[in-house]
């Protein structure tokens, strides 16, 4: 009897996932950039009184909301907030994570201890509470939201980068650099950091997706970007009271969010297959 399953290495999502993810994200980015030209009219324009909560029709492909605004126009404009918040907060999180991880991994032992203690302390806290608490401290807005999401999302990156740094430290090219008498900081910044980039890029891509979801949840609670800025989370909140009468108001922004996040996850997974140094050898000989 042949084996029901073959004990080989884990299957690869493959090239298709990578390209599908990249295409989804590229399309979303294009939509965000071209929103004013693509959108049928002004997202904030109030329609006539009688055009409230119209079901999808040729004239309004995705229907209208309580204020007679076109859902499609708002959806296209909302992509800007989501993508901007996603990329910038991922940038903050990854930047902070790389700084902490690299410092801990290549600095002196006391620094490692101190930084990892802080990291563990931050990890020991449910992130949603932290987000809500920090956002409620100041007046809600897009910039604050992005900062807060970045500042609460760096711990995983820091641990990853530290582990990677510790293993790079044992490699010969780093030993050689140290043998030349370079300072630990120079070794860290000029010799270890460049080798970290595959790890960092994968972490960043996956982080964009979770940052987009976090931003949308804060907007859903009314703690994110404020009117007249359009955001998908706020659109879903607006559709919630009329969910049972006008499903289209809340449904389409959620679908858009899911599509963009699927794109990020596919791209991140695909990139990991290609770039992860531990799997590099496997990928290359195939």
């Amino acid at each position: 009897m042949t084996a029901l399953f073959a004990p080989t290495r884990p299957g690869r999502p493959g090239r298709a996932a990578l390209w599908a993810g990249a295409a989804l994200l590229a399309a979303a980015t294009l939509v965000a950039l071209l929103a004013p030209w693509l959108a049928p009219g002004d997202p904030a324009a109030l329609g006539p009184e009688g055009a409230r909560l119209l079901a999808p029709s040729p004239q309004h492909p995705l229907g209208t909301d309580q204020l007679s605004r076109d859902v499609l126009a708002r959806l296209l404009h909302g992509s800007r907030v989501s993508l901007l918040a996603g990329w910038l907060s991922a940038f903050v999180a990854v930047g902070l994570g790389v700084a902490v991880g690299l410092g801990a991994g290549s600095g002196p032992r006391w620094l490692d201890r101190a930084l990892m203690t802080v990291t563990d302390a931050c990890l020991a806290f449910p992130r949603v509470f932290l987000l809500l608490l920090l956002v409620s401290v100041a007046r809600p807005g897009l910039v604050l939201t992005m900062l807060v999401i970045g500042l609460t999302g760096w711990m995983g990156v820091a641990r990853l980068v530290r582990a990677e740094t510790l293993s790079l430290r044992e490699r010969e090219f780093v030993a050689a650099a140290r043998g030349l008498g370079l300072s630990p900081w120079r070794v860290g910044l000029r010799h270890i950091l460049p080798s970290l980039w595959p790890t960092v890029i994968v972490a960043a891509t996956l982080r964009v997706g979770s940052a987009i979801l976090a931003e949308s949840f804060l907007s859903f609670l009314g703690l994110g970007a404020q009117e007249p800025v359009v955001s998908w989370g706020a659109m879903i909140q607006a559709g919630r009271p009329v969910l049972l009468d006008a499903w289209w108001v809340a449904t389409f922004p959620g679908l858009a969010l899911a599509l963009v996040v699927v794109g990020c996850n596919l791209l991140g997974d695909g990139l990991r297959e290609r770039l992860d140094p531990r799997r590099g050898a496997v990928t290359r000989d195939e």
């Binding site: 509470f129 409620s136 401290v137 879903i236 996850n265």
Partner: protein, 326 residues
């Protein structure tokens, strides 16, 4: 073992103290005025001042902090400013519902993850592998609150099978035991489904990787050589091996579960800790904010302690390592 445990406990307490201090300072530096939030719009200047004095808000921050610590040390969590009840009551009522929904969801997502991982690992590269992976990825990428709304739309409205929110029907208190249980389960179904659907894929990927690894090990080869049927090999030999770390490290899942609880309780009007916390933050109800935060922090710390303990028990190699490493 004992010195390690003592050090670990002390460490956890220190973390909680640090957490309490940070949250205390952050909340009180916030610009919003709790007195205004409690009294209503634009309180009379003198009334507001009186209330501030009574709550001790006119004192320096350090004095307020020490007073709060002293009260807590006596087991007094203070009064909710918004609900005018002891904080212990407010929070105590909410723990049960939160544990009910999170624990049920955890078990359900574990079962789903096992099913998905087995389906993917045994049909590697074929249609079921891609299908399960794709569906899981889709659920994983959806905003949880939106998934909840869609389930309400589908099962609450479209099919009319399940109630769309709340902890029980209006007349549930009068029902008999069995009927009440059914009523509770019907209300539990959608929140639990929302949490489990959103999180099972992350676990499934982990189990699948562990399963792949286990299937490549020599004890599987040896069992196969002895003529153990493939099905039995999978369920009785490889799967327990792959699941051990997952179950042992369940405690590390707690922060994630809490995050999910906040989302689900908000959407379904479930009277749990997450909703209490969200409302307290909105109303600047300091005593309740402190209590929910600390409770969540304590449970998360406990979870990671249990995970450490479990892992040390299961994997002797950990015990030989640096005992101070946490």
């Amino acid at each position: 073992m004992i010195p390690w445990l003592a050090r670990r406990l002390l460490w956890s307490l220190l973390m909680l103290a640090l957490l309490a201090t940070i949250v205390f300072v952050v909340v009180r530096l916030a610009p919003g005025d709790p007195v205004a939030a409690a009294v209503g719009e634009a309180p009379d200047a003198r009334d507001g001042q009186l209330l501030r004095e009574r709550l001790g808000l006119d004192r320096p921050l350090a004095v307020q902090y020490l007073r709060w610590v002293g009260q807590c040390a006596h087991g007094d969590w203070g009064h909710s400013w918004r609900q005018h009840r002891p904080v212990a009551d407010v929070v105590g009522e909410a723990i049960g519902p939160t544990l009910l929904v999170t624990v049920t969801a955890y078990v359900l997502q574990l079962v789903m993850a096992i099913g998905a991982a087995v389906a993917m690992a045994t049909r590697r590269g074929r249609a079921p592998d891609h299908l399960v992976g794709g569906v899981g990825l889709a659920f994983q990428s959806m905003p949880g609150y939106w998934l909840g709304l869609m389930l309400i739309l589908l099962f609450g409205r479209g099919l009319g099978w399940l109630p769309s929110g709340g902890f029980g029907s209006a007349g549930a208190a009068d029902l008999s035991g069995g009927a009440r249980l059914v009523d509770l389960l019907r209300h539990l179904a959608l929140p639990v489904a929302t949490l489990a659907l959103g999180s099972f894929m992350a676990t499934a990927r982990y189990v699948r990787a562990a399963l792949d690894e286990a299937l490549g090990q020599e004890f599987i080869l040896a069992a196969r050589a002895r003529g153990v049927p493939e099905r039995r090999l999978l369920w009785r030999h490889a799967l327990p091996h792959a699941l051990l770390p997952v179950v042992t490290l369940a405690g590390l899942h707690l922060p994630h579960l809490f995050g999910g609880a906040v989302v689900v309780e908000t959407v379904f009007g479930w009277p749990g800790l997450g909703r209490v916390a969200v409302e307290a933050i909105a109303a600047r109800d300091y005593p309740v904010i402190m209590a929910t935060t600390l409770l969540a922090g304590a449970l998360v710390t406990l979870g990671s302690l249990l995970a450490d303990l479990g892992y040390r028990r299961v994997d002797p190699r950990v015990r030989l390592g640096d005992p101070g490493a946490t």
